[in-house]
Amino acid sequence: MKPATATAEPRWLRWVLTAAALGFLAINLALPLAAVFIEGFRKGIAAYAAAIAEPDAISALKLTLIVAAIAVPLNIIIGLSASWAIAKFDFRFKPFLVTLIDLPFSVSPVVAGLIYVLLFGMQGWLGPWLQANDIQILFAVPGLVLATIFVTFPFVARELIPLMQEQGRDEEEAALSLGASGLSTFWHVTLPNIRWGLLYGVLLCNARAMGEFGAVSVVSGHIRGKTNTLPLHIEILYNEYNFAAAFAVASLLAGLALVTLLLKSLLEWRYAGQLAGRGH
């Protein structure tokens, strides 16, 4: 049988490829996700609720949300400025800046955490001064936020730079020549053009901010009920052989990720018409 179009592959090949992709997803994503929820509920709904309602778990959830609520907006601002600068202007150290933005992706999160210990720890460069002035960064919220910002920094910028570069400067120049100020050009022209990329970057950034383990683990100090985020809390429960509680809390974290995804799909569905109208 002839394929329907030039790019169509034979039926058997399509089946094999689709099955391979679905199989991979099932084994690596769906199965573990299901396992998290099944293990969480193993000892019944009451035990599940107890594990989540436990004060340490609640405090960990709060801390996770606070850290994300500070780190994500900051990274939106930094990511937007960085990609704006890189995509729309020419300057001398541009390749260097681009490399710098990728750094958090290539550095192990544990090393990222250690950097802050080196800077702000008691034996670190700024430690004595910080203590003299009674400023707590390490083993407190500021340290967690800093470590999270470092690790999640590239998500927004990486998403926006190629998008902005592809769109070029023409529309901005057109807006300026029509008498728009820099700010209204950004607001009316640049931002609408990148909003989907930005949203995607923000969601990824948020997911990672809530799920980050390595860097946060180093700077947190693991003080129960005080500096434990959800991932750290899960680890502690797990190490205490409290599997049901560990999986219950893990399911909460997984739930947050699912909500994020749902939100993204919902927005895409809601604005599908606009997306089609734009042609891109």
């Binding site: 120049e173 057109a174 300026l176 020549s177 008498g179």
Partner: protein, 352 residues
Amino acid sequence: MSVSASNVTKQFGGFTALNGVSLEAQEGEFLALLGPSGSGKTTLLRILAGLEFPDSGTISIGGEDMSNRAARDRQVGFVFQQYALFRHMSVADNIGFGLTVRPGKTRPARTEIKRRVAELLELVQLPHLGDRYPAQLSGGQRQRVALARALAVEPRILLLDEPFGALDAKVRKDLRRWLREVHDRTGLTSIFVTHDQDEALDLADRVVVMDHGSIEQIDTPEMLWERPATAFVCDFLGGANRVAARAIAGSTDGGDTIDVGGVRLPNRAPAMAAGSATAFIRPHEFEIAAPGSAGIPVTLRRMLRTGAHAALETATASGTIIEATIPAPPEGLVAGDALVLVPTAVRAYPEA
């Protein structure tokens, strides 16, 4: 509004894009900047618009010095080569943009903006397309929207960067005529950039020919065609054959005389000193004669009859190809025949 640039210089890194360029467009004039890519024509246009700033030199619009004004303060309508329409806005919002973003006091009322947009949609002959998005328009339609958007802010001058560059040949011809009409109707001083000499000669009141960041000639299309000031201009206008010749000083009409293979003709280019020269002869400026006559001895390689005329492709003994268009070729002419091309008009320049 008149526009002038004086002594404008611009470098990008080590590359000199503009090298002391001066020009002036009169009120209501339609000016073309013509040149090959890299000649600096687009840079000059962008400098006039304030999208680029010169390293030295001044720009003035309507007699007012604009050199240090930002693009948004110049009241210049700019039509981009790729149109640069705002892709997330409808056609109507695109056209109204310049009015919508005006600061509080000077911003027209919503209904006034709507009225103005409708008027402009009428002018660019797209009255029913206000709700469409740019991606849903053809190239020619986008071009018209881009023009309407630029006109909406009631600019003092209109600048167009390769306005027909991205369109196919048929649309290009129609839009060309239409743009000239719009210009005549609005009376705006307009400057457009093109690399297409036909477009420049067809459309503009005066043409500015540029090369390597300098202006070679500013003239009306007629003068440009009849009296190209430099070899570059003559060559760029296209079609002319290059032939080695000799300039002889002191002819009867005060200009110089050019000797091409023994045929002596007055130089239609600016007078030059005696010596060896490069002559440019257009295909229709030849007659043919029998071997042995004065002129350029050639061998016929191919002949193409197009109606009453015949296009001859010939080669000299040294292999230089010369093309000639002859109204009534003698019968029995076949490839391989020897003949002599006798020039009837010549433009010659000192050898580069």
